[in-house]
């Protein structure tokens, strides 16, 4: 049977990923994080005559001069410079049909590589709807490669590509026969491309009207800032209010499961382990799944609709003032979901110093793992009173915590750019894509991969830490379930004095340590610790237990700690890998610890002084 290795190459926003998902059904080997295609994903599909095609989706590139780490990956993959990976037999160069004139030189540049090429004029339906008229036959003749028009979203719109692969299979496999050309001057390529465009673009209206009209508001000097803040604010309100019924359902189910299990398994240590360790521990984290789903829905939709680049544009001015580029806003926004994809997405930043600065502040963006901690504490200590219109106090506090992270990130970036990562400001050159209706397939595939990642964490790291922690608070076996006499209590007692000045009690200190494995574990730890302390009488749930045990200044200090709290180990490991430096990794850990300690302390004493 014939097999073929293809790579999808093209500019960012050319619809490569939608085409890839359509061709492969979304079954890909590596994860695709929000914001950018950070890793090369590969999948398989079969053509009508049975050619087995392996296809790679590469990060977006405009040419062969890689400026960022991300573009380097794409160029190396095409050229076969990645160790252990065979280079593709042929390239499918994907161009947004609506922007053919501007991007045609990219196709000519890919041609200089000497590999067989298929030119896919993608999203042809949208271009035609705009009124763009192209002479496809002339384009094929002028460029000298097979040209197909594709509608990445419909399977019928991909048939032409499959047919060309079948028709051209001999040519596509004959890579040895072609010799790469000498490096061609881009100016010359552009003038060739423009000459071709003048022949094949029969008619093109000035611009997509919808995009132009939306941008009148979204890119308006004042309206743009207002829009961004309204979107962010609405997003955090939604995370709180829409998720509640689902969270209640999960909570009730977990409790019913615990009771059911308790009825089946005889009383004793094993029942304790399952009910208090596993079900209570894992359940207290899984309950936040609805909120995480809502947050990711927003991030995915903002990204797919084309708004994300506008957000970067609106933020550029503020980012410039701290010495960063508006583009750094995109990895930072991804960090609201999780710092790991954020740190990895920083690869798209061309300047090394800017990339380091972005990585260093990414953990200050409130990741979704912190949501469980915030929700628990806010829910226990703040009423959900209406403040103004649909705005409620709990949502407002949550927004304040996110804002605290953002402001801190700006200040830290400012200090870094004045000291450790000093350097000239980098150029901003960024395409603002035409607005699009997000594709359901891309959306659900993206959402599923993130939900799956969360559930996998719940099933592995969180499960394991829940069990270990249960053991640490249960043993040595004793008559009085006093926390201080357990193993965890003894460990906690040693470091308790360090945290006493900032108002942290023993239970909080114990929750901080496994919190390093995964943030949300802090919640399950508190759940386990107070469940064991409370024993049989503790029926009002964790939130009531906290209200009894903590003062408001203590709760506020704990929230402040989590705004800065050093990252989970997984993030630190990612930072180590992406910076390839222990120095930067240790510096990040140290500054986050320092800030967390200082700000918690200040919060505690100010709140106490104010008589809260």
């Amino acid at each position: 049977m014939t097999s073929l290795k293809l790579a999808l190459v093209g500019a960012p926003n050319s619809g490569k990923t939608t085409l890839f998902n359509g061709l492969t059904g979304g079954l890909a080997k590596t994860a695709n994080y929000s914001g950018v295609t950070v890793e090369t994903r590969s999948g398989h599909f079969k053509t009508p005559i049975g050619v087995d095609v392996e296809v790679m989706d590469l990060p977006g590139i405009y040419g062969l001069e890689a400026h960022s780490v991300d573009e380097r990956v794409a160029v190396d993959a095409i050229a076969g410079n990645i160790e252990g990976k065979t280079p593709p037999d042929a390239l499918v160069v994907v161009v947004d049909a609506a922007h053919l004139r501007t991007h045609l030189h990219t196709v000519l540049q890919m041609k200089t590589l000497g590999k067989p090429i298929i030119l896919a004029l993608n999203m042809i339906d949208l271009a035609e709807r705009d009124g763009v008229k192209l002479d496809i036959d002339a384009l094929e003749k002028e460029v000298g490669v097979p040209v197909v028009t594709t509608r990445a979203t419909r399977s019928a719109g991909r048939q032409s590509l499959l047919k060309v692969i079948d028709d051209q299979i001999q040519n596509l496999k004959s890579q040895q026969s072609q010799i790469p050309q000498q490096k061609v001057d881009i100016k010359q390529l552009q003038s060739e491309a423009r000459a071709i465009a003048n022949k094949v673009v029969l008619f093109e209206p000035v611009m997509n009207k919808v995009t132009r009209n939306i941008d009148k508001v979204v890119l308006h000097p004042v309206g743009g800032i207002v829009t961004l803040f309204v979107i962010l604010f609405f997003m955090f309100q939604a995370v709180f209010s829409w998720a509640t019924p689902f969270m209640d359902l999960i909570e009730v189910s977990a409790e019913a499961l615990g009771n059911g299990v308790a009825a089946v398994i005889p009383d004793g240590l094993f029942q304790d382990l399952i009910v208090e360790g596993v079900i209570a521990g894992v359940g207290s984290v899984v309950v936040f799944l609805p909120q995480i789903i809502i947050l990711f829905c927003f991030i995915l939709l903002l990204d797919a609709s084309g708004y994300m680049a506008r957000a970067a544009f609106v933020m550029d001015e503020a980012m410039m003032r701290v010495g960063l580029n508006g583009r750094a806003f995109i990895p930072l926004l991804s960090s609201f979901a999780c710092a790991i994809p954020g740190v990895m997405a920083a690869r798209t930043i061309e300047n090394e110093k800017d990339r380091l600065t972005t990585i260093m502040v990414a953990p200050l963006m409130t990741c979704s793992a912190r949501i469980p901690v915030y929700v628990l504490i806010i829910g226990a200590f703040f009423s959900n009173d209406q403040v103004w219109g649909p705005i409620r106090l709990q949502g407002l506090v949550m927004f304040g915590l996110y804002l605290a992270g953002i402001v801190s990130a700006i200040l830290v970036a400012f200090v870094l750019k004045k000291t450790a990562t000093k350097g000239p400001s980098q150029p901003l050159i960024m395409e603002l894509p035409t607005y699009k209706v997000p594709q359901p397939r891309d959306f659900f595939l993206g959402l599923w991969s993130r939900v799956w990642a969360f559930l996998k964490r719940a099933g592995t790291i969180i499960f394991a830490t829940s069990v270990i922690l249960w053991a640490l608070v249960t043993f040595p076996l004793r008559d009085e379930p006093e926390l201080r006499t357990s193993i965890a209590g003894k460990i906690g007692s040693v470091i308790e004095p360090i945290f006493a000045p900032i108002g942290f009690n023993l239970e909080m200190v114990i929750s901080l340590i496994p919190g390093m494995a995964a943030r949300e574990v802090a919640v399950s730890v508190l759940g386990t610790v107070y469940a064991i302390e409370g024993g049989e009488e503790n029926t009002e749930g964790l939130s009531a237990a906290l209200q009894n045990a903590w003062s408001l200044p203590t709760a506020l200090a704990f929230l402040a700690w989590f705004v800065y709290a050093p990252q989970c180990f997984a993030t630190l490991a990612t930072v180590r890998r992406e910076t390839n430096s222990w120095k930067w990794t240790l510096m990040m850990t140290a500054y986050l610890f320092g800030l967390a300690y200082a700000v918690s302390g200040i919060t505690y004493w100010v709140a106490k002084g104010a008589g809260l």
């Binding site: 100016k187 552009q190 611009m207 550029d316 395409e431 603002l432 894509p433």
Partner: protein
């Protein structure tokens, strides 16, 4: 005249690029994203303070630049009103 001097809503054509030694790496990036001699450009939106960043229409594509990058692109104004 350079692109940063373009008035909002005015249309121009790209005439060339700065030959300044220090700007060449940025010029090659500008070319890669699509700016080329003869292309139609129009200033669409600017930031709130200090007029940066700037967003342009390049043919039918929208591109965001800062003033510094825009100043590397030489333009000839067109007498045509924006569509």
């Amino acid at each position: 005249m350079t692109l940063n001097e373009l008035k909002k809503g005015a249309v121009a054509r790209v005439a060339g690029f700065s030959e300044n030694e220090s700007g060449q790496s940025t010029v090659s990036k500008l070319r890669e994203i699509g700016f080329a001699e003869g292309d139609e450009v129009e200033l669409l939106y600017t930031g709130l303070f200090g007029g940066t960043p700037l967003s342009f229409r390049l043919n039918r594509t929208m591109i965001a630049l800062r003033k510094g990058e825009a100043s590397l692109i030489k333009i000839i104004p067109e007498n045509k009103a924006a569509a």
